[in-house]
Amino acid sequence: MIRTRLVAQRLAFLFLLGCLFFNYPLLSVFNQGGSLFGMPPLYAWLMASWLVLIALLALVVERKHD
């Protein structure tokens, strides 16, 4: 439940984590040539970290017993 303070705070933590994932300086680490799993590193990083963030969001809000 989003209503509980703890869940809201966990979500806010994920917000900060997302800000870190999607911005400088992490971006510049991946912003280079070459390939990661057959994809440009920057694209691979963004899509993967985005998916991880979504999974974490789901984990936080869908957990039943807290």
Partner: protein
């Protein structure tokens, strides 16, 4: 086969299906079985965020600068991570205040200001028009391209096409008609549109599936997978440069700016507010949306970059607009069905956006702009009109038509100069101007109406100057020199390098200036003065979540007779009466007429009206019939203080009342105990008097006989004197016992505690009674006495107990055949003494009664058939004594089978503490008048139940 008529037919079929879905959902809602009361539908309907910008424009953006399309979707993901703080709060506030649009929210927050509502509406309409133009452009372009199949022809510039041959005009007209049919069929007090939401959710699925289909076709149908596309792109230098980004701080800055811009847009765009807040059925649905909506965004972006790269690889540079790759790639490979499906997907994206956006805007235009103006124009006489609900719908219909018309106009004027995404970003930057007043309004109580107006005006002006006007200039509707050399040729005023700020892209540039000015003016002007009463009240409602249900801004009052007709004029009589009846029922009243004309009713009417005409107008309307007593700031502050104080008090009160309840219960118990004692005291006194009178009467009778008749012979005289002596003894014993008991009970008895041999005491007591036993010929058996049992006790008192018990037994056994047996034994912790007799025994019910004082004299026990002689004090005194030494005294007996009195005393060893306590108590007892009672007389006994 993809002739124009096929496409048109397919489009109308699709719109027809949507309409059917909407109709069905409305139908279900009317029957109380909502289709959209479901978290998944809520999450899907949020997908209205993805318009043709996403569907066609993202690929174009990716073709131009690679990953640069992505921040627009990362921002909303981050917004939903903050859902617990922002969205949840917004929904709660909106629901409790019946807020129906973003303009309403801002107006309501800053004291229900009509000016502010109007201002937000103007900014929203002007700001969103480019966005609507974007949809028209995308749909008409895709139609033109698709209908020239199998050739791939880019559409001519809209300006070059005569007005009535421009497909965008027809698209705009059809969308307007469709939206009017969809959204303005009836007036709902809550501005909710169940059917629309259901249709939007379906559209979200259609556009997602269409895009995924194209993506899959391009990635696996045309290439050997994602890795294959990236590998090929890396080989072409011109394409490969899209795979990385410029590694400059400006590039990262603009990336971050876009993330936060889209975060605000996903919250503040009128259509997002409509879907996320107004159409929200249950705030709990937000839970699911927190991850499902970001997942939707992720999926719809999965193939954007691969499709863009494939398009760049496939078409020679400059021949095909990258915004159309989604459509032209299937067409180039003769996938007619897929191309048509893509067109429908794009149509979904466009119609979804246009429907929700224009409905939201038309509500705002009607409630916050047109109605307040019309109501002010007295010569129209609107204030006197009986039913305005039809007018409200009419205004909304016209607003929809006008907004789409303006969208089309912008498309004709400026649509050609920009790619889809760039047009959309202009709108994003416009709605971002709401961020300071909305978010500030939810978290900061200090914001005032003046501050909000100043912030919005400053932000809007700078947005228009740095972003909107240049878009006209680039299209040739303003002189080019305006961008290159600034207003009036002043270089510092160049709209896209304001004050010489360079190095930023135009969106970041605009946001830096407009949001700085906006925030600065909002905070700065707000701080110029203290919020007035109404602002303070609204602030506490929005920020503190204070529930002011009991306190209202309405100082005065008006009756149902005034308010019901008022509501009926805007809502229609039926809906108004329904609402008032609900309100009456919620106050446990049977009918509307019973409603008192109080402030609560006025408040209810205001909230009801707010749903239909906006909070600011509703306030003005109710004020026109309610004699409002203006509240001063102090009063409002008092109300708020009072509210919090009252809460504190009520908590305290609750605590106190609990304590009181406890205390009352204790008191009641004590009182009952006292009454019982009082009653017992009365009984006691009457019994004592009675007991004293009996011997006294016989003493008096015999004394008188002796006194009056001197001739009584000696034998007779001696017998009389013996009786008198015996009765006197009995009398003094009785008095001694009463005194003794009183002393024991009051704790003033004197105790001499020492080690006492129990066997010795028993023997001594038996010895003193030998004569009486012999007289009645009763056998006394003392074979069971274990030797050497010592306890810490008062020897004389213990003796008293033994004598009591023995004489008691003697009293009730039959003469000649009577037997009494005494036994004493020791365990590790206690000494146990038994006095058994073969008398008639005692009923189980009387086992405790006999230890009460004078119970034989109270008359309360009908088991007594024969009033035994005795004081009735022996057993109570014995029990007092035994309990004083922490022992117990009780009786074991069944009626007709003899009785056995048992007492225990703790052993000397191991009970030093208790005894020490006893000793201390005895010392505290103080000097007592009477010594231990030597109750060795043979006649006394306790009361015994059972028939004797």
């Amino acid at each position: 086969m993809l002739q124009g008529w096929v496409i048109v037919l397919a489009s109308f079929l699709y719109l027809g299906v949507l309409f059917g879905i909407a109709w069905y959902a409305d139908h279900r809602a009317d029957h109380g079985r909502s289709l959209i009361a479901n978290p998944v539908v809520y999450a899907l309907s949020l997908g209205v965020y993805c318009t043709t910008w996403t569907f066609y424009g993202s690929v174009g953006r990716a073709a131009a600068n690679g990953i640069g399309f992505l921040p627009i979707y990362l921002g909303p993901t981050l917004l939903f991570a903050l859902a617990g703080f922002i969205l949840y709060r917004m929904i709660r506030v909106a629901k409790s205040n019946r807020i129906t649009s973003i303009a309403d929210l801002v107006a309501s927050r800053y004291g229900k200001s009509q000016l502010l509502g109007g201002l937000v509406t103007v900014i929203a309409v002007v700001g969103v028009i480019p966005y609507i133009a974007l949809q028209l452009k995308a749909v008409s372009n895709s139609f033109t391209i698709l209908s020239s199949y199998p050739d791939i022809v880019m559409p001519a510039s809209a300006g070059a096409v005569p007005l009535f041959q421009d497909s965008a005009l027809y698209v705009a007209m059809i969308l307007a008609a469709f939206t009017i049919l969809f959204g303005t069929r009836h007036l709902d007090a809550t501005e909710r549109h169940e059917g629309m939401v259901a249709a939007i959710a379906v559209e979200s699925i259609v556009k997602l599936v269409a895009f995924l289909a194209v993506g899959a076709f391009v990635v696996w149908g045309l290439h050997g997978g994602v890795a294959d596309i990236f590998a090929r792109a890396a080989e072409v230098p011109e394409v490969a440069r899209r795979l990385t980004r410029a590694d400059t701080s400006a590039a990262y800055g603009s990336w971050g700016t876009l993330i936060f811009l889209s975060l605000f847009a996903a919250l503040l765009l009128p259509r997002q507010f409509q879907i996320a807040v107004v159409e929200n059925v249950d705030v709990k649905h937000l839970n699911r949306a927190v991850w499902m909506f970001p997942l939707y965004l992720f999926l719809i972006n999965l193939f954007v970059l691969p499709v863009a790269l494939a398009g760049l690889l496939h078409f020679p540079a400059g021949t095909v607009d990258a915004d159309t790759f989604v459509l032209t790639l299937p067409m180039a490979h003769q996938q007619e069905g897929l191309a048509l499906f893509v067109f429908i997907g794009g149509l979904s994206a466009a119609t979804g956006m246009v429907i929700v956006e224009t409905i939201a805007l038309s509500t705002m235009v009607c409630n916050d702009l047109v109605m307040p103006l019309l109501l002010r124009l007295r010569w129209l006489g609107l204030a006197e009109k009986a039913d305005l609900s039809g007018l409200l719908l009419e205004i909304r219909r016209w607003a929809i038509a006008v907004i789409l018309g303006l969208g089309y106009l912008y498309f004709r004027v400026a649509g050609e100069a920009y790619a889809l995404v760039s047009i959309g970003l202009i709108s994003f930057a416009a709605v971002a101007q709401f961020a300071p007043v909305v978010i500030g309004g939810l978290f900061w109580k200090g914001g005032t109406r003046d501050g909000a107006v100043a912030g919005l005006v400053a932000g809007f002006v700078l947005w228009a100057y740095t972003l909107l006007l240049p878009s006209f200039a680039k299209s040739g509707w303003l002189p080019e020199g305006f961008i290159a050399h600034g207003l009036f040729g002043i270089e510092l005023l160049r709209p896209q390098q304001l004050l010489g700020l360079t190095g930023l892209d135009e969106i970041t540039h605009c946001l830096v200036w407009s949001l700085l000015a906006n925030l600065g003016a909002y905070v700065g002007v707000s701080l110029l003065r203290v919020p007035n009463a109404r602002e303070a009240r609204q602030a506490s409602l929005f920020v503190g979540g204070t529930d002011l249900a009991g306190h209202t801004a309405w100082g005065g009052s008006a009756g149902v007779a005034d308010l019901l007709p008022l509501a009926a004029r805007f809502l229609g009589r039926e809906r108004a009466e329904e609402g008032f009846l609900r309100h009456a029922r919620s106050r446990s009243l049977k009918s509307v007429d019973e409603l008192p004309g109080d402030a609560r009713l006025a408040n209810f009417a205001e909230t009801l009206l707010a749903g239909a005409i906006g909070s600011a107008s509703a306030r003005a309307m109710v004020a026109s019939v309610v004699s409002e007593e203006p509240l001063g700031l102090d009063e409002v502050m008092n109300i708020l203080d009072e509210a919090s104080q009252v809460r504190a008090y009520s908590r305290e009160l609750e605590q106190k009342s609990q304590e009181l309840t406890r205390a009352t219960a204790e008191l009641r118990q004590a009182n009952e105990r006292l009454r019982e004692l009082d009653r017992m005291k009365d009984d006691f006194i009457s019994t004592v008097t009675h007991e004293l009178r009996t011997p006294l009467t016989s003493i008096r009778a015999f004394s008188e006989m002796l006194h009056e008749d001197p001739k009584i012979d000696l034998a007779q005289r001696t017998r009389f004197l013996a009786i008198i002596v015996s009765e006197t003894v009995r009398l003094s014993r009785l008095i001694n016992q009463i005194l003794d008991l009183a002393k024991l009970e009051s704790g003033r008895a004197e105790w001499t505690v020492a080690a006492v041999d129990v066997g010795e005491v028993i023997r001594e007591a038996a010895d003193s009674l030998t004569a009486l036993f012999a007289e009645k010929r009763v056998a006394l058996d003392m074979d069971d006495l274990h030797p050497g049992l010592t306890v810490m006790a008062d020897r004389d008192r213990l003796m008293q107990v033994m004598v009591n018990l023995l004489s008691n037994a003697l009293k009730f056994v039959p003469a000649d055949s009577g037997r009494v047996r005494v036994g004493a034994e020791g365990t590790a912790s206690e000494v146990r003494v038994r006095v058994w007799d073969n008398g008639p025994g005692i009923h189980a019910a009387d086992h405790e009664v006999i230890f009460d004082k004078f119970r034989q004299g109270s008359g309360g026990t009908d088991v007594l058939t024969d009033k035994p002689q005795g004081t009735g004090l022996g057993l109570p005194i014995s029990r007092q004594i035994i309990e004083y030494f922490h022992g117990r005294l009780w009786v074991e007996s069944t009626s007709g089978a003899g009785a056995c009195f048992v007492f225990t005393l703790p052993r000397q060893a191991g009970d030093n503490n208790k005894l020490a306590t006893a000793e201390r108590e005895s010392q505290r007892g103080g000097p007592a008048a009477g010594a231990a009672l030597s109750d060795s007389g043979g006649k006394h006994n306790g009361v015994r139940g059972g028939s004797q």
